[in-house]
């Protein structure tokens, strides 16, 4: 037996810290939650309010823009159509809204953090274990404090998704910038480019394929969080899966599961197409 005198009451300290946060900063958290919620609700209303064919046309247009490949356009439209045929269109739109907000937030936070990590070895050394923690810590552990701070519903679902999904875009932004050819960087410096000119003119454009791969992974991971998000009150496809489990309705669970996979496929293919485009941007111009 490990000697009890050596026990550290970490759990108690965390509880005290969360209590202190709730008491002192509850209002600030609520204001933040409200603004996030406003954006999400607005987006959800647009997606759910729009006729289904408008959404299909939008997805077809985005796919065409990304890939210029009509086979892919048809494939993805059929996948979305199939979700509608499963009777899950409305729930899919709710999930879609949650995903778009969570992914956008992840990317907005992730790219600047990734850039900072590429600039500073020290920050990178600190961030890597934090990112490992974010990805391996069971989500329920941080869902509980998130619930205490923001209450049940969509906001803690978004935050849990961001914590889980942001690391890939951070890692790959960092990696992409670090992989930029040293001689190209030297060339840019030798012409007197400032740090800002180097970052926006050389490092980010050349890191773009990796950053796009990171965004793609982040999107995939945020989709995989929908079931867990539904456990704390987010609506959507995850809710349907949860209901299937609770009622032992294997069929309903399977339908929702297939819809989630289809949604993931659609986003993965669009993301990959944009990634490829960023890699060989000039081929398209020549064609």
């Amino acid at each position: 037996m490990f000697p009890e005198q050596l026990n550290v009451p970490l759990g108690k300290w965390v509880n005290q810290f969360v209590d202190w946060l709730v008491v002192n900063y509850g209002a600030a958290f609520e204001a933040f939650a409200d603004s996030l919620l406003t954006v999400l609700v607005a987006l959800e209303q647009v997606l759910r309010g729009a006729p289904w064919w408008v959404v299909l046309i939008a997805i077809a247009a985005i796919t065409w823009h990304a890939s210029k490949n009509w086979k892919l356009v048809v494939g993805l439209v059929v996948a979305m159509f199939a979700i509608g045929m499963l009777g899950l269109w409305d729930k899919a739109m709710q999930t879609l809204a949650l995903m778009i907000v969570a992914t956008s937030l992840s990317v907005l936070i992730g790219i600047p953090v990734g850039i900072a990590m590429a600039m500073s070895n020290r920050l990178r050394a600190v961030m890597l274990p934090i990112l490992d923690t974010m990805q391996t810590m069971p989500s329920f552990v941080y869902l509980i404090p998130a619930l205490m701070l923001f209450g049940l519903g969509k906001v803690p679902a978004i935050l849990a998704t961001v914590i889980y999904a942001a690391p890939p875009v951070m890692r790959l932004t960092d990696l992409g910038i670090r992989l930029v050819d040293q001689e190209v960087l030297e060339a840019s410096r030798s012409f007197g480019a400032s740090r800002k000119q180097i970052l926006f003119g050389v490092q980010l454009p050349l890191a773009l394929p990796n950053i796009m791969a990171g965004i793609n992974q982040t999107t995939m991971m945020s989709i995989s969080m929908v079931v867990i998000a539904s456990m704390i009150g987010a609506r959507g496809l995850g809710e349907q899966v949860l209901m299937g489990i609770q009622r032992l309705d294997v069929g309903a669970g399977m339908e929702a599961g297939i819809a989630i996979v289809l949604l993931a496929v659609v986003f993965d293919r669009i993301g990959q197409a944009y990634g490829k485009r960023s890699q060989r941007s000039h081929d398209a111009e020549d064609a």
Binding site: E183, E186, A187, S190, F191, G192
Partner: protein, 341 residues
Amino acid sequence: MSYIEIRNIFKIFGPDPQSALELAKGGSDKDEILAKTGHTVGLHDVSLSIEQGETFVVMGLSGSGKSTLIRHLNRLIDPTAGCISFGGEDILAMDIPTLNAFRRKRLGMVFQRFGLLPHRNVMDNVAYGLEIQGTVRKEREAAASKWIERVGLAGYETKYPDQLSGGMQQRVGLARALATDPEVLLMDEAFSALDPLIRSDMQDELMKLQAELHKTIVFITHDLDEALKIGDRIAILKDGKLVQVGRPEEIVLRPADDYVQAFTRDVNRSRVLRAKSIMEPINSGESQAVREDWPSIQAHARLADILPVALANGTSMTVRDAKDTPIGTLSPQQIVDALES
């Protein structure tokens, strides 16, 4: 004072360069310092003076510190100790904005593996330096077009670097460095990655450009033939130390030590040596040494160009300077001796 002055530069790589610097200044060599402190000596007490308008070649094998040296001139690398000045201006004292302005206006650099921006086409690569300076698009594209044409790439403006051959990519690199009209051109093994034929073309091209532009060129190479061909003066670097500085003929005729000698052994001397450096000089007034029926040759002519004349006539030759005054004589035996030694 020369245009570019490099004074007692030391560069030591490692976590605590200052500690190893004392050893280096005390006379320890590269291997000793590496064994004692784990620090690598990049440059060891290098001093050079480079004149305005000359092509100055720094030659050395890999690890000799030549690439490190050229990067000191635009401060891509800062020295551990020493001074560097351009036209009397201490570049090591410059803060970042001043340094960037200095790099933008006065320096251009060409890289071994070209260093082109792969996401920009030829036009935008060549215009890059001007773009950094904040020149408006129309103006910088006009300047870039001029240089693209000058290096023979007209028609390739919208191509991307990966669609061009190595030689063409380096032409883009050269045009990019010249587009800002810099005073100094830094060329880091600029032609080393090219095929021999293309390399020779590019050397000729550079010499042609230089005859018109009179830039100050600092050229790094590991190839002595290249150094002898394009250099007005050559510095030879070994293990971070300067071994010899001199005109190509001095390097070939009077190598400073066995190391330089070993390099010069395989050099085609007839392409390096000029009539003036091996002739028998005549004192003014003593024209009796010259015979009327001897053919005349220019003092600056290379032996390779004199040989056909010498073989056709079999006699000695009169060496004349630019004003056509006889300044020396050259016998076939002297040529044989110069080529043999």
